[in-house]
């Protein structure tokens, strides 16, 4: 397992959007899925999750609705809206561009004299 990486500020929203894009989930489920698909490399502070979820709901990128979970308990389910999907695509593109740029900078070799 890779050593856990620190979360860059601002990326939590992107992770949540991605996790929610893979299906409607409640809060705990989103947490699990992020940890799962990052192979344990990204650990989210649980307390920070919910304010971020609420923020995304307020911004119209997620939609929240109450439902019954698998073990017959009430849970609030979050799913991506159209605007959310669009934002996810934009953020993903931006992230990829950033990674490419960082990569080319960090991969530069010292010039031969």
């Amino acid at each position: 397992m890779n050593p856990p990486a620190d979360l860059l500020p601002g990326t939590l929203d992107l992770l949540i959007l991605k996790a929610a894009s893979l299906g409607s989930l409640h809060g705990y489920g989103i947490l699990l899925r992020i940890e799962q698909i990052s192979h344990g490399a990204l650990l989210i502070e649980q307390g920070a999750l919910y304010p971020a979820l609420f923020r995304l709901v307020r911004q119209g990128l997620l939609k929240a609705s109450w439902g019954t979970s698998d073990n017959n308990r009430r849970a609030k389910y979050y799913e991506l809206t159209t605007a959310g999907r669009k934002r996810l695509r934009e953020e993903q593109d931006g992230w990829n561009r950033l990674v490419a740029a960082m990569g080319s900078v960090l991969g530069a070799e010292p010039e031969e004299a």
């Binding site: 809060g27 705990y28 649980q46 307390g47 920070a48 609420f54 307020r58 119209g60 308990r73 609030k76």
Partner: protein
């Protein structure tokens, strides 16, 4: 987010708060349970799984708060919560709350009261339609009848007004109204009650139209009412109708007798309209100019080309440029002055290019009262601002003490997850709550205060200023409360922002922090400095008042009385006057206690005078101006004015004797260079009159205006000695001057029922000759001083208020300091310090603070003194006596404020103190 969604969010925030909270709880708990389930599945016992899950979740309350913050309009919810909490706190500490609200109420109330007056007198427009379209023709205040050229014109004769009105189409309406105030006798035709005196004003037919005022009942004047030969009508003011005629619905249309002439009241002006200027005793009756000749009889001014007695204001057409109109009207003025038949002298012609007309904004009315009160009100405004600052500093100190005591509470809040911003917001909300409550209290105090100030400034007179708060005043009070809250609240808020959550765990109440240690003394020093400045300023104002009062006015007021009467109202013709005066004098001398009686046109300090050009024989100039009055025999003796050379006016100066005059010192100084003028001659304007009057005496300078005005050259002529004049206008003028309006009496001791005796004497001579007023001369002087006295009293009050607040503040801070240093004092006493040492230690701190306050206060006082020196009468910027008194007061305050806590410190038991860890 879409606007609809946002709106729904706001609604849900405001109305579903509790439900939303329980939803959060449910969600979080479900999350923790699921995590616990997972952990249990991986082998942990249930209890351990649940504990781990809860810990893994992190800050529960913090997460909840984070979610709540995401709701729209969240700040409103928190503000409301803070307010509710603040109210609870206030209820639990009623003494504290009431004290604070009271202090704030005083500070805000004083400011609001003064602002009410400032607004009414200096800022507000007249209650008329579109006041910004109104322009006054003239830029200075003159009253009440002028002759000759004015330079920058502000008073106009009726003919000149008509000329301007008819030739300036840029003015949609141009109205003229009497500059002075007048009393007329009014009697209803249907009963035999005696005539009552009412304040009246002559106005042009378009007066009400110019101001855009309609009638409350009946109708107002139109241009028709100004035609000669129209039916005599009058309009009554709303207040007169309400107060003096008890809102009698039959008034409109009734016939009344005004000065024994038949008139009809055609209408009542709307409530709130008090005329063209803010003044005390506003007009109760408006009468068209066309009827002035009837009412004034031979004293009529209407047809006098040369008597300028009307103010002129008009409504400019939209788009008209005042500057252009000014030039146009100046040309019209000069044309009128040079018209064929005008009596311009050579000197006048050289002055012609200097005759101008200037337009000034007329929306706030004629400014005489405004100018008179401007300085005083500005001073009061500064003083109340200083008092408010002192109150704020007091409040800040109190709040600081309380915040320090509550630091554990704030630490707990921080530990529970409140952010810095949140804590600061809470601190500010609580302070704001206090200051808004203080503002409400302040409004009540202000209403009462304004009423009292009005009574002090205008005793026994009516001024159309409402004491109850109007919208601008309410807004001012609100703004002031907010500013106060902000100023006082910064310190506790700043403290709140530095909260350390770990403090929640500490049990020691040693809440000493380096920064709070200098803030409190600094505020106390500020208070002392401000109090010093206020007290010194008050001292200067009081001194100025004393200086004014103690001047030698040129007469004695001891036992002197003035009776105002109006022979014209009773219908006397000029040739009957002399006999009347002699009758009066003889009859009045019969009253026991009356030592001397005389009569005059004007009396000292009445503010009234008649100024005109004179021609002194030998001085070949037309520019000499002097004031004159007619007096009866024994006038100077009755008043107590000394005759320095020659003789006074006596009985021998009858209608057939050669006309003589007595002049004052200023006259001699200005026209005779100090040489004896006895035997020389002078006369009214015109070379041919330069030998009309022979100077037979010189009197000391007497003030016939107001206490702070300079003495003008003045001459006194005998009552019956009219000088024959060439032109009809001059003759009318001369005849008009034969009417005496004042009787002066000198009494030996207090004469009981003097007024009744005087009235009966006049009544016996002629029942139509009422005594309009009788009062001691001292009262006439006092009327001039009312304003100064009010300001002096208020300044003293504010100074004392500031000093009291500063003392209370000092007491509070010193007590607090003693409490904080209880340990230290205990240790000192255990080590051998006795009670005296302890008291000395405390008083030393107090002394240092006071000295620091003095140090800061002295330059401020000096600066204030410099500013006041130019506005007050005969005071110096730095008056040692006043400063000594102020320093003494400050020292006393320090003593009182510091001594009790010092004694308390001295009575500390060392063992008790040491145990108080």
């Amino acid at each position: 987010m879409k606007p609809l969604g946002y709106l729904k969010s706001i609604m849900s925030t405001l109305f579903r708060g509790a439900a939303a909270d329980s939803e959060l709880d449910e969600e979080f708990r479900a999350h923790i349970e699921r995590h616990a389930d997972d952990l249990e599945r991986s082998g942990l016992p249930r209890g351990e799984a649940e504990r781990r899950a809860r810990m893994a979740f992190g800050g529960y309350e913090k997460a909840k708060e984070g979610c709540r913050e995401q709701r729209a309009c969240f700040w409103l919810e928190t503000f409301w919560a803070d307010v509710r909490f603040g109210l609870r706190l206030l209820r639990k500490a009623p003494a504290f709350s009431l004290t604070v609200i009271f202090i704030l109420g005083l500070g805000i109330g004083a400011n609001t009261a003064v602002f009410t007056l400032v607004h009414a007198l200096l800022l507000k427009s007249l209650p008329v339609t579109k006041p910004d379209q109104l322009f006054r023709v003239g830029d200075n205040e003159q009253c009440c009848v002028n002759g000759g050229l004015e330079g920058s014109w502000s008073l106009y004769s009726y003919d000149l007004y008509k000329h301007l009105r008819d030739n300036t189409p840029a003015f949609e309406q141009l109205a003229a109204f009497q500059a002075g105030q007048e009393n007329v006798g009014v009697r209803r035709m249907n009963n035999n009650a005696p005539a009552e005196s009412r304040v009246s004003e002559f106005v042009s037919g378009n007066y009400f139209q110019t101001f855009g005022i309609g009638a409350f009942a009946g109708r107002v004047f139109t241009a028709e009412d100004e035609r000669p030969g129209a039916t005599p009508v009058a309009v009554m003011s709303y207040r007169a109708w309400k107060e003096k005629y008890h809102a009698d619905p039959s008034i409109a249309g009734t016939a009344v007798a005004i000065n024994s002439l038949p008139f009809t009241i055609v209408g009542i002006a709307p409530p709130g309209f008090f005329g063209d200027a803010l003044r005390s005793n506003p007009p109760e009756l408006w009468i068209p100019l066309a009827f002035e000749p009837q009412v004034h009889g031979s004293n009529s001014l209407l047809t006098q080309w040369d008597d300028n007695w009307l103010n002129v204001t008009g409504r400019l057409a939209p788009g008209a440029q005042p500057k252009q109109i000014e030039t146009q009207m100046t040309t019209e003025l000069r044309q009128w002055l040079e018209r064929p038949g005008s009596m311009l002298t050579q000197a006048d012609r050289t002055e012609l290019p200097h005759q101008v007309i200037r337009l000034t904004p007329g929306g706030s009315g004629v400014k005489s009262m405004r100018e008179a009160y401007q300085d005083g009100l500005t001073l009061l405004l500064w003083a109340t601002a200083a008092v408010l600052l002192v109150a704020c500093a007091n409040l800040a100190n109190i709040l600081l003490a309380r915040a320090t005591a509550r630091h554990r509470e704030f630490s707990v809040r921080a530990a529970l997850g409140a952010s810095q911003v949140r804590l600061v917001r809470q601190a500010f909300s609580e302070t704001l709550l206090l200051s808004l409550l203080g503002g409400a209290a302040g409004l009540a105090i202000a209403t009462y205060g304004t009423r009292s100030i009005l009574q002090l400034a205008f005793p026994n007179r009516y001024v159309p200023i409402a004491a109850a708060p109007s919208w601008p005043v309410l807004l001012f009070a609100l703004a002031l409360s907010l500013v106060t809250g902000f100023l006082s609240g910064t310190v506790p808020a700043w403290l709140a922002s530095r909260t350390q959550p770990i403090e929640a765990l500490r049990t020691a109440t040693r809440a000493t922090r380096a920064h709070s240690q200098w803030v409190q003394p600094a505020l106390v020093i500020l208070q002392s400095a401000l109090s010093l400045v206020l007290i010194c300023a008050a001292g200067l104002v009081v001194q100025s008042l004393r200086n004014i009062r103690n001047q030698n006015f040129g007469f004695d007021d001891d036992g002197r009385y003035i009776a105002v009467f109006d022979p014209q109202m009773a219908g006397y013709k000029p040739e009957q006057l002399d006999t009347l005066y002699h009758q009066l004098r003889e009859a009045l001398l019969q009253i026991p206690g009356v030592q001397s009686v005389s009569y005059a046109m004007y009396t000292p300090m009445s503010g009234n005078n008649w100024e005109g050009s004179i021609n002194v024989e030998g001085r070949h100039t037309d520019n000499d101006q002097a004031v004159f009055t007619r007096v009866g025999p024994a006038y100077f003796d009755t008043l107590g004015t000394k005759i320095l050379q020659g003789r006074p006016i006596t009985e021998q100066d009858s209608a057939t004797a050669p006309p003589v005059a007595v002049v004052n010192e200023q006259f001699v100084k200005q026209f005779f260079n100090g040489q004896s003028p006895l035997g020389h001659h002078f006369g009214p304007s015109g070379e041919k009159y330069s030998r009309s009057l022979e100077i037979v005496g010189v009197s000391e300078n007497t003030n016939y205006w107001s206490p702070d005005e300079p003495i003008r050259p003045m001459y006194f002529v005998a009552a019956p000695q009219a000088i024959p004049r060439d032109t009809p206008e001059d003759e009318v003028s001369e005849q008009r001057s034969l009417y005496m309006r004042n009787i002066v009496l000198r009494t030996s001791a207090s004469v009981p029922e003097l007024e009744k005796h005087v009235r009966s004497v006049l009544g016996q001579i002629n029942p139509d000759l009422p005594v309009m007023e009788l009062f001691p001369l001292a009262q006439q002087i006092q009327r001039n001083l009312d304003q100064q006295q009010m300001i002096a009293r208020l300044m003293t009050l504010f100074g004392l208020l500031a000093l009291t607040l500063a003392t209370v503040g000092l007491y509070g801070v010193t007590s607090y300091g003693v409490e904080r240093r209880t340990n230290e004092i205990g240790i000192r006493m255990a080590l051998g310090a006795d009670r005296v040492n302890v008291v000395g230690m405390v008083m030393r701190t107090v002394g240092l603070q006071s000295v620091a306050g003095l140090a800061i206060g002295v330059p401020l006082t000096f600066a204030a003194g410099r500013v006041l020196e130019s506005r007050l009468f005969g005071v110096h910027a730095f008056d040692l006596a006043i400063f000594a008194v102020a320093t003494f007061a400050l020292a006393l305050s320090a003593l009182i404020g510091g001594f009790l806590p010092a004694c308390r410190a001295a009575s500390i038991e060392p063992m008790q103190a040491l145990r108080n860890e």
